[in-house]
Symmetry: C2
Subunit: 153 residues, 2 copies
DNA sequence: GCTCTTATGTTATATTGTAACTCAGACCGC
DNA sequence: GCGGTCTGAGTTACAATATAACATAAGAGC
């Protein structure tokens, strides 16, 4: 696994890094977007758009439709503030927005806990293989389903 | 990309290889299962369970519920007769049942066409990385979204 | 044939994801 | 200020994907 020499944010620090990143792209950091990011970052495992909608609704004391959450999550994924975990139909906050990594998710089939690793040699190998097959602008999706240490017998 | 020295089946040959494989595992090769496998193998791109249900329904001249199709597709995936493409919520027939490969799907975001490659060194690298992170019994999901040769500008 | 098990049918419902249209506020030019 | 335009968000409706619970049918083994 590749070392990480960049900043790994959390809490307020992560939030402001996310805000910076988004505004730097010419997008607005609205109350709702902040609330969605907050909610997402506070989950300790990948959350579905509906989970996020529920969390935001209760944090805001009013009903936020899944619809709005989807729009914002899509924006976040595009802006690299969040990632979609394809094999779980769920989203996670990116712990280091502003840093472009292909990342690898390890998802526990039992408890749903997900850890995220970066391994540039693996992901570039996958990109390379796609390129050799004639694929351009590839977005690697590398996820591994298994059992985490805690859920092993 | 790794060479393939094993049999690559198609048409009737594929069908009988699938039947062999399934029966060898003590499962029955029923009419409906054969019809589902046929339908799946005849799609030229990943098909959703509902697509398959529709194809089977029209082939059989009676309504087959998605439900039944899901059950059979799950069985096929377990038995290695088919694969699930996670990032597309879809399934493809395995062209060489009986041969256990982690495989890599390249999915064109424009036309949906999917090609499947095997690269044991990449996939075992991914397995290895998961193992190092404490994950056991890992099932790698390696998919790449991009644009195929035909859909490139 | 009878029984036990497995496969399928049926219905209902949960979960995930989009579409279409409206409304509100910010910003801009006049 | 006034009217136009743009972006974000609200609202409603619906489409697509997936599972659950229970009833019935079909096969395998005796």
């Amino acid at each position: 696994m590749t070392r990480h020499d960049h900043q790994l944010h959390e809490g307020e620090s992560l939030k402001s890094a996310a805000r910076d990143r988004l505004t730097r792209q010419g997008e607005q950091w609205t109350d709702l977007r902040a609330a969605v990011f907050d909610a997402l970052a506070n989950f300790d495992k990948p959350a579905s758009a509906y989970d996020v909608a529920e969390a935001v609704s209760s944090a805001q004391g009013r009903r936020i439709a899944a619809n709005s959450v989807y729009r914002i999550l899509d924006l976040f994924v595009t802006a690299n503030l969040a990632r979609r975990v394809e094999s779980a139909n769920a989203y996670v906050a990116n712990q280091h927005p502003g840093c472009l990594h292909d990342c690898i998710f390890l998802i526990c089939d039992t408890c749903g806990q997900t850890v995220h690793i970066d391994n540039d040699s693996l992901s570039s190998g996958v990109r390379e293989a796609a390129k050799n097959a004639g694929f351009s602008a590839p977005r690697p999706v590398i996820e591994v389903r298994g059992k985490c240490e805690d859920c092993r017998d």
